[in-house]
Symmetry: D2
Subunit: 366 residues, 4 copies
C-alpha cells in the first residue's frame, strides 16, 4: 500500500524529502467548524525545530507553515487542509561520501534494494524532516482533542542511563529543558551525558513517554483495530523507534495476575480503577483511565566516528559521516510522539461514533 | 473502522465468539494456484488447541476446520477462502457471576461502555478463542511464505522469571514442550513455576519471540507502513500483549550509536550485516537479515482468587471467577504470533510488487 | 485489492461459489443494539430465491440463512455478524461442455486469464449466487435504515421493450409480480415477451430502478466519495449491469441548464426542490430529496442457442450451453440492487457522523 | 471516509479550492524509476485550462505545475509526489449574491447542510478547479500506462443534440477542436449550438467517451472491485456526471442475449472477440479488448438567466448568477475523464500483480 497515508476518518498524507523544495501534509477529514490558524500549527512545529542548543543539529530551519486550503474565515471547512513547509536551509554540499555507500543504521541500503536507487541528499524521504508533516497534522488533532477535554502530553523519560524522577515531575519543564524532560535535574545530567558522547564522536538513545488524560471509555475496536494496536503502529512508524510499551509494558510479563489486574471500585458514583497497570486500555478499548505509552528510541545512527560498510558497487569501505545531525533523536521526537498519539486517538474516536444503534438514532431519527 | 479485517492485498476477516455456534475467517486475496487442503490449516490450529496439559484450560475443543469456498481441486482459486471452526464444547453454565459484573483485567467493562451491553458468555468476542480464525488464515500465509523460502517461527522466550538459554536452543522442542519453549530444561522450570502459581489460584505472564528467516531485502514502505510498524499493530492486536520489541528493542535506548549500528560487509559477493541489532529492518524496510521481534504478554486476567470489582449497577462487589481458563496465555499464543507475523509480512511482500517501474514492465510490457 | 469487501464503517465481506458447500457474508460494523433475527434476513433472501416461476432457473435452493455470530439475545452486539447459506441443490452434472471452453458473455475467459484456471462448476465465484451474501447483509442495512426513517425500494422498470407505466405504479405489486414490476399490466406483457424469447432459446435484458425516501440532506463526501460515485460502484459491481444513471441520468446531456436545474423553494418552513432531476444528490451530497437511480442489465449470457467460441487449447468451437439458468436476470437482481443501495447509503451516513466539530462535541464533551 | 483520496496502490489525494492560494495533489505509490518532469504533467493541465475560446470561462489561469517532492534527478523515487498549482486569477469580487443563497444545481445547499457553512468563493471545494489535481496525477498514470503499451483517450461524443459521426473520427482533432470532438464538422455545429444557448443566457450538456487500447486481459477483481465498478466510481466522482455506460451501456437492456454476447474466435493464435458490446470487460475483468465507456454530463448549473431559489435564512428569492463560468462542462472535462480512467486502471493493474502464486514465485523465489 502506498505508505504515506495514516488514519481513516481523520486521515493524513505526508510528503517531502530532506532536501527538496518543501515538505507538507494533507489533512483530510478535519471536522468543519474548528477554529484554526497557522499559529495553532506553528507552535507544534517550533517544538521539533532544530537549532535550539548544542544537542540538536546545527541545521537551522524556520519551518514556517502555510495553510493552502481547507480553512475559510478562520474555520476548517471540512475540505482537505494542505499544509506546506518550505525547506530553506538545504546546503548543496558534496554528497559523494554517502551517494554510493550505505550508512550503517540508516535506510540507504534498504531504499536502494527496494526502489533501485535513492535520493541520497540528507536521507531523502527517510530523513527525520519527514516528521514535520506529521507534527503539522498532529497540531490540528491535538487542538480538536483539547476542545473535547483530552490532553496529550509527551516528554523524554530517559536519555541513555539518565531517567527522570517521578517525584520531580514538572510538566512545564517539558517545553523548557533542552531534552524535553519534565525534570530539570535529570535534564542537566542527560545533557552532560550527551556532551560526553558528542566528544567521543558518538550518539545516544533514549525513551519517550506519552500520557493522555480525559479519554472517554469505549474508544478502540476489538480484534485488529485495538486502540493499543493502532497506537503501536503509529509509534513504531516514527523512525528509530524499536519498541513500544502500553501501561506497564514489558514489566507485566514477569508478574502474577493478582499483581497485574487493576481492581475496579466506585468513587463518587463513577467507576474507577484503583491502579492503572493496563495504561488505560482493556481488550483494546479505552477504559476511562489515563492512556500511558512509551517508545524506545535507538541512538542516532549518524555518528562522526569511522564505521565499516559497503558501497553500491559491492566493496567493503570505511565511512566517516559528515554533515549536520542530532546526537540524540529523542528531544525533538517527543512532539512527534505526541502528535501521532493524538491523530490515532482522534481517528478512533471518530470511528466510535457509529458503533451503536442509539447513537445513529440520536443523530438521524426525526 | 470495522475492526475485524486485517491486511490489504492478503486480507483476513475474522468472526465469532467464544460461545456461539462457530468461529471463522474469510481469507481474501490468497494467490491462485496455491495447493491447499484442510490438513495444511489443521496442523496450525492444533498448536493453539486447548487441553494438552494442566497448564492449559480444561475446555476441550476439536477445532476442526472446514474449507467452505475458494479452493477447487486442491488449489486456491483466487476467490475468498472461507474457513469454519465449530464450537463444540461450550458449556451452558450459569454466567450470573460475570453477566453483571466486570472482571478485572478483562474487556467486560470496556465492551459495556462501548456497545451498551455484551455477550458475556466466555468473554464473547474478546475471548482468546477469537484467535482461531487468525491461526487458520495464518496457516495459509505461512504455507505461501514457505514456498518462497521464508520460514516464520515463534516460541516462548520466558514465563515469569524463567527464560530460555540461547545455548540450549532447540527448534524441535517448540512443538513438544508444554510451554512452547525451545529449551527443555527451561520448560521444566517454567512448568514448576506455573504449577506453584496455580496452587495459589494465580496466573503468570511471559514473553514470546518470533524469528523470520529468508526475507528478501526491500519489504515494507517508508513512513506509516514501515514493516515494523505494521508488525507492531499485528502483534499488539493479540489480546494480552502489552509491549512489542523489534530486534534489540528496549535495550537500544541505553546504548551508544557506535554500539548499536550494524556494520555492513561483503561476504561471498553478498551484502551482509555483521550484527543484527536492528532485527532485520532498517528505515521500516527489510534489510535481508533475519527479522526478530518479541511480544510481552500479561498474566491471564482470570484468576481463581477473589478480586475487587464493581457491577453494572454501580456497586462495589467481590468477584471469584469460575470456569475454565489457562493460567498462562503464552504457550497457546505463540502460534498466533507466528501467524500474525506471517500475514503481515506476506501482505507487505504483495504490496512491494508494484513499487518499481521495471517490475511493472516485466509483467505487462509485451 | 482483495475485492470481496465493500464499505468502510458498515463493511461486508462475501464469499462462496455456485457449487461449493455454502455461501456467506461477514457483516462488520453493524451497530450494537439492533434487534435482529434470521427472519429479518430470510425475507430478503426469499426475494432473490430462484424457482418461483418459469422465468427463473429451475434450480431450487432453500437459501436458509444461519446467523453464526454477532447476535446475542436477539440483538446485534457490535461484533462481526457471520451469515451462512448452505448450497443444497448443486447438481454434480457433467461440466465437460464448459470446463474447457469459454461461454460468450461470461467471465470464463477472463478468470482463466487472471488466475490461470477456474472453478467452472456453475460459474464458480462469478455466478449470480454470489449475490446471496450481499442480500443477507443488505437486509441488515435495510432494517437499520428503516429504523432511521429511510425506505429503500427497488423494482423492475423495464424488460426488453416493455416498461412500466408510472400512472399504474403500485408498490405492493413489486413483491407479487413475476418480474418484480410495480405494474401488473406491464408484468403480463413482459412475461409474454420473455416466454417468446425462451421459445427461441434466447434471453432478454432490462432496467432496474431504486428509490430511496427519507434520506437526510448532507450524506456523501465531495470529490471521490460522492454519494452517487459510491452508489455507481455498488451498482456496477452487480454482475451484468452495464450502465447506471442517477436521477434523470443520460437524458441530462441533451438538456439546457434552465431545464435541468431544480429550483429551491420554501414549503412549510422547509427547503424543497420543485423538481428532482438531480435524483436527490447535488455535488455528491444528498439534498434531502428522494434518491433515484437506474441500472441497465444485459440479457443473461447463458442461452440455449448454439454460439461460436474458443476452447482453452486455442481452437474455435461451437458451444451449446446446458444446465439451469434464468432467461432474464432483472427480477431476481432487483433485491440485490436494493441491498447494495442500502449498504452504500448506510456506510456514508456513518462516515458523516464525524464531519462537524459540533457533532463531536455533542458526543464527547462532558 | 475522508473523501479526497482515490486508489490503493497508486493513490492520489487532492486538495484545494477555487479561490484559495493553490490547489494540488499528492501521488503516492508512483513506481520508482519512472522518468518524470513538469512538462509531462503540464501538457495535461493545459488541456483543461480555461480561456481557450468563447465557450470556456473567461477566467484565465496559467495552471503551472510545480513538483515539490518524489522526483530526483529526473526520475520518480517511489516517495510521494507532491504537485502544486497556484491560483493566480482569483478575483476578489463581491460574493453577496451567492454567499447567503443557494444556486440551483450547485452544491451550495448540500455543503451548508453537511458542514454548517461553506467557502462560497467560486464554489470552494465543489468548483471544477478541484479537478486540476486529478489531471496532474492522471498525467503520471497516463505516462506509466503508455510505457506499458496502453493508450487512454477521451473525447467529446456529443454536445446537446450534436453528436460526432464515427465515419469522420479523427483522433488528432480532439486536441484541436474547441469542443474536444474528434470530428471537425460536428465541432462546428456544436459550437453554433452552444453560442445560441449562450445568447439565451443558458448552458448545455453533453457526452464524453473514453477508449483504452492495449489493456491486457485479467485486470480487475470479481465482486466489489470489478474494473467497471471502479471505473464507474471514478467517472461519477467527476462533478456534473449523471450517468456512466460501459461498452454498449444502456442499449443492452433492450437486446436479446443472442445479439449482445460477443463471440470468441482465434485469430493468428490469439483469442479475440468478434464484437465488443461488452466494452472490454467481462465479469468485472478486462478481456483484452478495448475498454470503452461514456459519461453523461449535465448542463453547467450556473446560468445567467434568473432562477428561483432560497437563501440561508429560509426565504424564497430570485438569483441571477454573475461571475465567470463555462457554458458547457464537457470540453474541459474530457481530460479529467481520461485521467480518472488511467488512474483507476493503473491501480487495478498494480493490484493484479499478486493474484497468482506463480507471479509471487517469479518475483521472490531464489
Amino acid at each position: 500500500m502506498a505508505g504515506s497515508t495514516f488514519g481513516n476518518l481523520f486521515r493524513i498524507t505526508t510528503w517531502g524529502e530532506s532536501h527538496g523544495p518543501a515538505l507538507g501534509v494533507v489533512v483530510d477529514g478535519c471536522p468543519a467548524g474548528l477554529s484554526l490558524d497557522e499559529e495553532d500549527i506553528q507552535m507544534y512545529l517550533d517544538r521539533r525545530k532544530p537549532g535550539r542548543s548544542r544537542i540538536t543539529t546545527s541545521r537551522s530551519e524556520a519551518d514556517r507553515v502555510e495553510i493552502l486550503s481547507g480553512v475559510f474565515e478562520g474555520r476548517a471547512t471540512g475540505s482537505p487542509i494542505s499544509l506546506l513547509i518550505k525547506n530553506t536551509s538545504q546546503i548543496s554540499r558534496d554528497y559523494s561520501d554517502i551517494a554510493s555507500c550505505y550508512r550503517p543504521g540508516h535506510a540507504d541500503y534498504t531504499f536502494d534494494q527496494k526502489y533501485g536507487f535513492r535520493d541520497y541528499r540528507g536521507g531523502g524521504r527517510s530523513s527525520g524532516r519527514e516528521t514535520a508533516g506529521r507534527v503539522a497534522a498532529g497540531a490540528i488533532a491535538c487542538k480538536i482533542l483539547r476542545q473535547l477535554g483530552i490532553e496529550v502530553r509527551a516528554y523524554t523519560r530517559s536519555i541513555g542511563p539518565v531517567a527522570i524522577d517521578p517525584q520531580r515531575f514538572d510538566f512545564q519543564a517539558i517545553l523548557e529543558t533542552r531534552t524535553a524532560m519534565p525534570d530539570r535535574e535529570a535534564d542537566d545530567r542527560a545533557v552532560a551525558y550527551m556532551e560526553d558522547a558528542i566528544k567521543r564522536l558518538d550518539s545516544v538513545g533514549g525513551v519517550m513517554e506519552c500520557q493522555v488524560t480525559g479519554v472517554p471509555a469505549g474508544i478502540g475496536d476489538p480484534v485488529f483495530c485495538k486502540l493499543d494496536a493502532l497506537l503501536a503502529q503509529a509509534v513504531l512508524s516514527i523512525g528509530a523507534v524499536k519498541a513500544v510499551e502500553i501501561g506497564d509494558g514489558t514489566s507485566v510479563s514477569a508478574r502474577y495476575g493478582s499483581e497485574n489486574n487493576d481492581a475496579f471500585r466506585m468513587r463518587d458514583g463513577h467507576v474507577v480503577k484503583v491502579t492503572n497497570h493496563a495504561g488505560g486500555i482493556l481488550g483494546g478499548i479505552s477504559d476511562g483511565g489515563d492512556i500511558l505509552l512509551r517508545a524506545h528510541v535507538k541512538p542516532t545512527p549518524s555518528i562522526y566516528a569511522p564505521q565499516q560498510t559497503v558501497d553500491s558497487s559491492g566493496h567493503d569501505v570505511d565511512i566517516q559521516i559528515k554533515g549536520r545531525h542530532d546526537p540524540v533523536i529523542v528531544p525533538r521526537a517527543v512532539v512527534v510522539l505526541e502528535c501521532m498519539t493524538a491523530i490515532t486517538l482522534l481517528d478512533a474516536m471518530m470511528a466510535n461514533l457509529c458503533c451503536r444503534m442509539d447513537s445513529l438514532e440520536r443523530f438521524y431519527k426525526k
